[in-house]
């Protein structure tokens, strides 16, 4: 019981920090950066679900982030261009009529639905094809990574349709607001924080449900689950689709927050960075994934501002330090500290009353 209470207390504390303290303390520019970190935290939450709970090491989450981001970007571009108008990059790329697949995105409802539905559909298709064939472990990781690489090549190659390397940028109007105005950035921050909070609670509920137990069971012994009569492919496909939907939503929020979506955000490296962030935060806990994404991105900004020349080394050092000294990430360290304190408070005789079961290490 006290465990549960403590969980809610922590959640309330973090919510208070994000929704009340941060907007009061941080200057507008820093708040906007925090909004960006929270977008990545949403993707990380999805990775935490798929990888930490389900054992699916997805190295191509950038694809879903991109699908959501581009859906949003396409709507904003068409909105700026006005009826019948072409987005600016099409004009200089020699495209004279609006391509058919762009047309539905002029409607905000369609675009917002596509933000979630397109990534989910792609993930469902991919999951059905892949998990039924019992592709897992390193093979799944490689496949998802290849997907990210292919997606980037496609986007860059089709400059007239996608904006090429430049991506989609220069938005003038975000649902009636000026994207660079402080008030817009502030409200985007709140929207992002709320979405993250809701998704976190939802994911937590999911993990605690029967489905969640099944998911962990699939992670720790897929064949055993199959012999018990469940279909692991279905469980994995659904989870993968949920994590893809989260990434799509994050991408869509990222566009108004930062003001650009480009292939450099979706390739292999950014996708890997997010997995690294989840590992740093602690992949076995959903909160760890979020924490990791915030720590990593905060460190990235902080290091690069202070040491513009060599910040990448520091970031690498941070990763190596965490992985060698605390393989279960920041949350793992927290759990250990908590257990150690509890043990110290109790008389040594009571030591035998159920130590917290260690979670099994799973080969990625």
């Amino acid at each position: 019981m006290s465990e549960k209470l403590r969980g809610y207390g922590l959640f309330a504390l973090v919510a208070l920090l994000l929704l009340v303290v941060a907007p009061l303390v941080l200057p507008p520019f820093r708040l906007d950066e925090l909004a960006k970190y929270l977008c990545f935290a949403i993707v990380a939450l999805g990775i935490g679900l798929a990888w930490g709970q389900g054992g699916m090491l997805t190295l191509g989450q950038g694809v879903f982030f991109g699908l959501g981001g581009y859906a949003m970007g396409m709507y904003l571009k068409l909105h700026d261009a006005g009826p019948g108008g072409l987005p600016d990059f099409m004009e200089w790329s020699g495209v004279e009529t609006l391509p058919a697949f762009w047309k539905p995105f002029a409607n905000p409802v369609v675009a917002l639905a596509a933000v979630v539905l397109v990534p989910v559909a792609v993930a469902l298709l991919l999951g059905t094809l892949v998990f039924r064939q019992r592709v897992r472990g390193a093979y799944f990781a490689i496949l998802s990574q290849a997907l990210a690489a292919a997606f980037v090549i496609l986007l860059v190659g089709q400059q007239g349709l996608t904006g090429g390397t430049n991506g989609l940028t220069n938005f003038y109007d975000i649902f009636g607001q000026d994207p660079e105005a402080e008030s817009t950035q502030r409200s985007m921050y709140f929207v992002t924080a709320l979405v993250l909070g809701v998704l976190y609670l939802g994911a937590r509920q999911l993990v605690k449900s029967r489905f969640g137990r099944l998911l962990v069971a699939v992670r720790d012994g897929e064949d055993r689950v199959r012999f018990l009569g469940y279909n692991p492919a279905t469980v994995k496909t659904i989870t993968f689709a949920i994590s893809a939907g989260m990434a799509g939503l994050a991408g869509a929020l990222f566009v108004p927050v930062v003001g650009i979506i480009s292939p450099s955000l979706l390739g292999v490296v950014p996708s890997l960075e997010l997995v690294v962030a989840v590992a740093i935060g602690g992949r076995y806990a959903l909160a760890g994934a979020i924490l990791g994404a915030i720590i990593m991105n905060y460190a990235k900004t902080g290091f690069s501002e202070e040491f513009a020349g060599g910040w990448l080394y520091l970031q690498g050092a941070l990763f190596i330090l965490v992985m060698t000294l605390a393989p279960k990430g920041a949350i793992g360290v927290y759990h250990q500290a908590r257990d150690a304190l509890a043990r110290r408070r109790r008389p040594p005789a009571a030591e035998d009353d159920a130590p917290v079961p260690q979670k099994q290490e799973v080969p990625a």
Partner: protein
Amino acid sequence: MRKAFLRRMAALAILPSMLLTACGGESGENASGGADGNTIKVGLLHSLSGTMAISEVTVRDAELLAIEEINAAGGVLGKKLQPVVEDGASDWPTFAQKAQKLIRKDKVATVFGGWTSASRKAMLPVFERNKALLWYPVQYEGLESSPYIFYTGATTNQQIVPGLDYLKEKGKKKVFLVGSDYVFPRTANKIIKAYAKANGMEILGEEYTPLGHTEYSTLVNKIAQAKPDAVFNTLNGDSNVAFFKQLKSAGITAAQMPVMSVSVAEEEVGGIGIDNIVGHPVAWNYYQTTPGAANEKFVKAFKAKYGAKKVTSDPMEAGYNAVYLWAEAVKKAGSTDVAAVKKAAGGIALERPEGLVTIDGSNQHMYKTARIGVIQPDGLIKEVWNSGKPIKPDPYLKTYPWATGLS
């Protein structure tokens, strides 16, 4: 167990301390304005990491040199310039965010930055919406004229068009186009095709490879079979190394099939290997060998600061110029206020290493002299042709009848 745990706690203790050091500069958060006390803050935003770092670091170095020289000569409006350097990390969204940081947190008076068109396109809305100034130092594909950007590199009619004029003058009728797959090569080739159509030239092929591509044997075969008189090369970065190497191993020489490059300068020649590229022409507005007292001084100062083996190139010189041109505009305006600087900038003419540079107030581009050069066995570039006088910038090619319908 206990010991292992202690070790982990130590790691935990290191984490926040690392983050704290990283944010030591936060105290400057409320510094008021780009011009406070005795300094004027200016932002330098280039990629110091990632694929573009190798090129962009040299531009940053040239800009730092200009700032140092201006400070040594007494600064601007009696105040010293204080550079705030940020890393764009070869990542366009990072450029947008760092630009915002420089404008809003550091409150710099102006920013010098960017290299790739993608980084400029990403920064453009940030500068326009915040009404701040960006000085962009690299030749680019034109078709743009933001009121908050000064373009100190060449636009198409000061580099690509003269390059084509040169090929035409040399009687090269059949041309093959090779480029990296992004906005600059694609737009440049669109212009080249329109030019070719109007000038009786024939385009035998147009090929694009992804940025960073290094496998060129197929493409070189294609070129060898097409037998063009010349190749127009808009490849960027490392790709040039592989392309020129494979061209040479296929036995194609500069004498029989010159490759005109617009993104290969002194800095890149060393990386490509002088043997692989010697004799091929390039189109720019400045070379290390460009005669004149201003250039002698620039080359000497640059070598003194960064080492005798360093070379100077066109984008570096354009970055170096940008700082001087901005400083001149500030002096003329009597303030660092963006609107006042923009107003004062038009018509400013300075004798720079490349020759006379004048700011065209109407589109915020520069009058620049076009120069065609040939790569020499010592790795430097010798000028073989120039436009005689600075060419008026025409980013939308409005004064060229063959270019109607391009923009």
